[in-house]
Each structure stands twice: as structure tokens, then as C-alpha cells.
Amino acid sequence: MSKPSAFITMYPSSRILSVVMALLLSLLSLSPLAAQEKKSQRLEDGSRYRYPLLDGLIVGVDLFQPVVSIFGQQYANYQASLEVSFYNRFFPIWETGIGWADNTPDDGNFTYKVSPTLYNRLGMLYNFNYNSTAPGYIYGGLLYGFSVFSYDITNIDLTSSYWGTSDKAAIYDCHSRAQWLELLAGIRVNLYKGLKMGFSVRYKVLLKAADYGTTRPWIIPGMGKRNGGFDFTYSVYYQIPIKTRKQRVAAE
């Protein structure tokens, strides 16, 4: 009996190359922004920051995942975010959402299911153009994500061509908890007043995902597929301005 041959693997270098190309193109198109940012880092009046300590609250909703799930992706994370802007420079962020999966791979002999499950991410974003008055900015960040979830592996088809046997099986209610890191870079553009749009490119690395017996979780709410790799968000944000007493007095 011969062993089934392995499929051709797509080398990660091609992925990395395409990411580098995309980022280069993005940065090139933003070079006027970057130049303006350098000039604006030092303020004329000698102060360090143009924006106040508590600059605002930013709420956001990701639009990318709902769209890809409409176009047939068999898992998704629907998420919202809440950030606090400190000096328009540091953004502590909390992302929360619902992740689900109902995925039967084309060449797989199973269906992997995760019922809608809450997940959370905590982290910090950094605005590289923090003193700029330009209508947009480039940012980077690091997030720590975690979720506790259950998954089912159903429609398992165990066929032996030699013995002529065909068994059906399922494994229900496998419990797991997972932790991962996301390194991200993104761009945001102010559209009108506090309304912003932006996208981020994220590289996800799984830190830990608990096995359940002889099964290993595959799609993790909030993380996606356990192999990690690149992901994308395309979000709409609204910045709620916060005026401190000092600012109100100054305005009056």
C-alpha cells in the first residue's frame, strides 16, 4: 500500500514578498504624510504634544470579516474595538467580538464547528504621526488575544479503500482555551469630523491552544486558523472627543 503523496506546499517566502510589496506601495503613496510628520514632531511653541493627554475615545467596527463570510469563507470574527487616545500617540485598545466556524475543507474528511463564541484582545497601538495635522496616520501595535471555546468535529468519514470499510464518526464538545499575539500595522484616514476609516495588516502567532484528548483545535475564535499568518481588517471608526475642565476653560 503506497502512502498518499503530500500536496505541494506554498512557500512562505512568496507570501512575505507580496506583503513587503504591498507595504512598500502603501508607504510610497504615503510619503508626503511621512515628510509632514517629520516636520510636525517638534512644535513651534516648544511643547511636546499638539494633542491633549486625553484626546478622545475611539470606537470601531470591522467590516472586512462580515464581507468575506458573505463571499463564502466558512469562519469569521465579527468584532468591535474601543480605544483611548493619549496625546494622539498611544492608544490602549480593547477588541472584542464573536468568532464562529462551520468549515468543511475541500479535501477534508470532516466538518469543524465552533458555535459563536466571545473573544477578547488587549493591546497598545502607536501613532507614528502623533503631532501631525495631516488627515491620516500610520500606526503599529501589538495585541494579546484570548478565548475559551468549544468545538465539534462532525461528519468524519473514515474510509479504507483496501478493507472496503466506511465508518462515520463525530466528536462533540471538545473544550479548549487559546492565547495568541498579533503584530499589526495600519493606516487610518479622517473622513469627516470624528469619522475615520482604516485598514490594518496583522501577523498572528499562536502562543498556546489546549488540546482536548486526541483532538487539536483548528479554527480559534478571534485567531482564525491555528497556523496563524497574515490577516486583514477594514474598519470604520468614530472618535468621541473628550474635553477636560482645563480645555473647556481655555476654550471659554
Binding site: 500500500m1 503506497s2 502512502k3 498518499p4 503530500a6 500536496f7 505541494i8 506546499t9 506554498m10 512568496s14 507570501r15 507580496s18 506583503v19 510589496m21 504591498a22 506601495l25 502603501s26 503613496s29 504615503l30 475543507p105 477534508g108 474528511n109 470532516f110 469543524y112 488627515p135 491620516g136 468535529i153 468524519i156 473514515l158 479504507s160 483496501y162 478493507w163 472496503g164 470499510t165 465508518d167 464518526a169 466528536i171 493606516i187 484616514v189 479622517n190 473622513l191 469627516y192 476609516m197 482604516g198 485598514f199 495588516v201 486526541t214 483532538t215 487539536r216 483548528w218 486558523k225 497556523n227 499568518g229 497574515f230 490577516d231 486583514f232 477594514y234
Partner: protein
């Protein structure tokens, strides 16, 4: 009033300009999106559990040997098809039968000079199974734990069960030792 209109018009055109710039930037990200969509991993092991049986010379040398004209088949296989059909081999791979706790394989030595009585050896595996799901690429499969291993000694001199675990890893499960004249 006119200045207010102008201001509103300016704000609208600025916003539409930013949207256009943002869409252009987003298009720059298309290569990345396409690359993530083509992110295909592969199963580097077997998609079924297999056991490997290898032939060795009996004695101190411990060298692997090739045996001429060997056929292998499973007992009770529904089409009586051969796993190995009269080949010169030093090892073979086979699967255990699910839904049963015992599987037997017959090794038939098709050399002409052998007495028919000594032409067959039988390997018997007694086991229990469980389902494993380790990766999406390899899928779900039965794994087996061998509880008992027996063999006949018409040609086989000795046999060793190297591991009791039968899974999709490419490891030697059974070693069969044969007398090899100097």
C-alpha cells in the same frame, strides 16, 4: 450664507478626496489579500494510520534484507486483492481494519524452490482504536494501540514489535527476522 456653502462644499470635496486616496491605498493591499487567500498548507504525513513492517537478517549483523517474490494480503479482504504482488521488497506498509479488534496479514513467499508447507507466514494484530484529529491538513483518522502481536515461524525466525502505537507517523512498527545463509 455663501461662505457657509463654500465651506460645506470644501469639506465634502476634502472627504471624497480622502476616501479616494484610501481606496487607492486599499488596492495596494490586494497582493496581500490574494496571498492570504492562497495560503494552502499540506499534510506532510500520511492521511491514514499505517504500520510499517521491515525485513532483517537474523543474527548479530542486523542488516535489512530484500526478499524475492513476496506477496502480502489481508485475511478477509473483500476482493481478495493483494497488498504486495510478487515483488522483491525489504518492507511493506499496511493498515489495520477498523470496526474489528483483530487484523491478520499473510506474507506469502512465492519462490519456486520452497516447500508449499513453508510458503506462508501470518502476522496477527490485536488492538483497540481511537479517533485522532491533529490537523486539518491530515484530517481525522483512526489510530490504534496494539494489545497483542503474534506470528507464525515457517520462514520468520523472530519478530519484534517496535512500538504499540499505530498512527500516521512513518516509523517502523514491526521487525521480522529471517535466516540468511552466509
Amino acid at each position: 450664507m455663501i461662505s457657509l456653502r463654500r465651506r460645506l462644499h470644501a469639506a465634502r470635496s476634502a472627504a471624497s478626496g480622502r476616501v479616494a486616496a484610501f481606496v487607492a491605498l486599499s488596492l495596494c493591499m490586494l497582493p496581500l489579500l490574494l496571498s492570504t487567500a492562497c495560503n494552502t498548507e499540506a499534510c506532510l504525513e500520511s492521511k491514514t494510520s499505517i504500520f510499517n513492517t521491515a525485513f532483517y537478517a537474523y543474527g548479530d549483523s542486523g542488516v535489512k534484507v530484500i526478499i524475492d517474490s513476496v506477496s502480502v494480503y489481508g485475511v478477509g479482504q473483500y476482493r481478495d486483492s493483494l497488498l504486495v504482488d510478487t515483488a522483491n521488497i525489504s518492507s511493506f506498509q499496511a493498515t489495520l481494519r477498523s470496526g474489528r479488534d483483530t487484523t491478520q496479514y499473510v506474507i506469502r513467499y512465492d519462490q519456486h524452490n520452497l516447500n508449499p508447507r513453508y510458503k506462508r507466514d501470518t502476522l496477527t494484530f490485536v488492538y483497540h482504536s481511537y479517533i485522532e484529529f491533529e490537523s486539518a491538513e491530515c484530517g481525522a483518522m483512526y489510530n490504534y494501540v496494539i494489545d497483542d502481536f503474534r506470528y507464525t515461524t515457517w520462514q520468520i525466525v523472530d519478530a519484534r514489535l517496535m512500538t504499540t502505537e499505530v498512527n500516521n507517523q512513518d516509523v517502523e512498527t514491526v521487525r521480522l527476522y529471517y535466516y540468511v545463509p552466509e
